[in-house]
């Protein structure tokens, strides 16, 4: 019966405890936390001491310099 489901990938859908999907109420608080952490990290990699400066000087800019260029962000 289940053989018809196996095609290229033998990776079947696994229902999550009775429901098919993770309830929205379980996702939202962690999404808020995850997005806040991500914005903080991405800001320092991509923008600080480039387009916008929270701290004086160029140390952050120079330290993440190569990563900023290679990850595609405008650096200088």
């Amino acid at each position: 019966m289940m053989a018809s489901a196996a095609s290229i990938l033998d990776d079947r859908f696994i229902p999550i405890g009775g429901a098919n999907a993770i309830p929205v109420g379980d996702i939202v608080p962690w999404a808020v936390l995850g997005i806040l952490i991500a914005i903080l990290f991405l800001y320092f990699v991509s923008t600080e001491q480039g387009a916008v400066s929270l701290f004086d000087g160029m140390y952050v800019h120079e330290f993440v310099h190569d990563g900023r260029h290679l990850l595609g962000f405008p650096c200088h």
Binding site: L9, D11, R12, F13, I14, P15, I16, G17, G18, A19, N20, A21, I22, V24, D26, I27, P29, W30, A31, L33, G34, I35, I37, A38, I39, F41, L42, F44, V45, S46, T47, G50, A51, V52, G57, M58, Y59, E62, F63, V64, H65, D66, G67, R68, H69, L70, L71, G72, F73, P74, C75, H76
Partner: protein, 252 residues
């Protein structure tokens, strides 16, 4: 469930960042060095005989961070922060999409999301604003270029979300294949209009070696590809484990 997925997503991002850093050290850093050497010769030419202003620009000034640190700890730190951030967001999209976007296994969903993320976040925005090595780009325009680049990414992500909506709403009427084509069309329209409206950037200095520019860009996109594929595969394995364990613990 989401908590377990979120921290595993960040861990997958960190592991993927280690691989991406190794890739970048091998294939991209040589091009950064070429660009910095070009910048130094340009600065020398620009100064000519004016010794008085020599301290103004590159070379003469003592470096705030050495090249060795930039290529080593600096590159690693930046990539780890980026990897942890996008790995976390990746896991959240997975958590919301599992069992909603399609009834497919966790590893397959992660792989598809990884391919999609590379296209939507890295490759499509790079068509309009390709990554640039040092010496390419003027200091005065960095704020404009940053805003334009972020706008391009937002537009690409928004286009993707619209495409998923369009596909979903047309599946019953047109069938799955044609609805998917309609989704691609919606994406192309949104991104195409955005690319027309956003400002053009044309700041490659004359004489910059074209081959080096191309190699830098290929290596930069290659690094993104390594990062996203590693996140997709590592996180897919983690998620498979988390979901399977949740099911067995419930059955007990």
């Amino acid at each position: 469930m989401t908590r377990d997925l979120l921290w595993r997503g960040m861990l997958a991002g960190i592991l993927a960042a280690l691989l991406a850093t190794l890739f970048a050290r091998q294939f991209a850093e040589p091009q950064v060095d070429v660009a910095i050497a070009f910048e130094a010769t340009q600065a020398e030419h620009a100064m000519g005989g004016h010794q008085a202003s020599a301290s103004e620009h590159a070379g003469e000034e003592p470096e705030l961070v050495s090249r060795e640190t930039q290529k080593g700890w600096g590159l690693l730190t930046a990539t780890l922060l980026y990897g942890a951030a996008v790995g976390g967001i990746f896991s959240l999209i997975f958590a919301a999409g599992y069992g909603r976007l399609a009834m497919i296994g966790p590893r397959t969903l992660a792989l598809m999301l990884g391919i999609l993320a590379f296209l939507v976040v890295a490759l499509i925005p790079a068509i309009k604003y390709p990554p640039t090595p040092p010496a390419v780009g003027q200091h005065e325009t960095v704020a404009l270029r940053t805003v334009a680049y972020f706008a391009m990414i937002v537009l690409s992500v928004a286009g993707c979300m619209i495409a998923i909506r369009v596909r979903g709403s047309l599946v019953v009427r047109l069938g799955a294949f044609n609805a998917l084509l309609a989704g691609f069309a919606a994406f192309a329209v949104v991104v195409g209009i955005g690319q027309l409206l956003l400002p053009a950037v044309n700041e490659v200095p004359p004489g910059f070696p074209a081959t080096s520019l191309w190699d830098f860009r290929v290596a930069s996109l290659g690094m993104q590809f390594v990062l996203w594929m590693a996140i997709a595969l590592i996180f897919g394995a983690f998620a498979h484990d988390v979901i399977r364990k949740a099911v067995t613990s419930r059955q007990r």
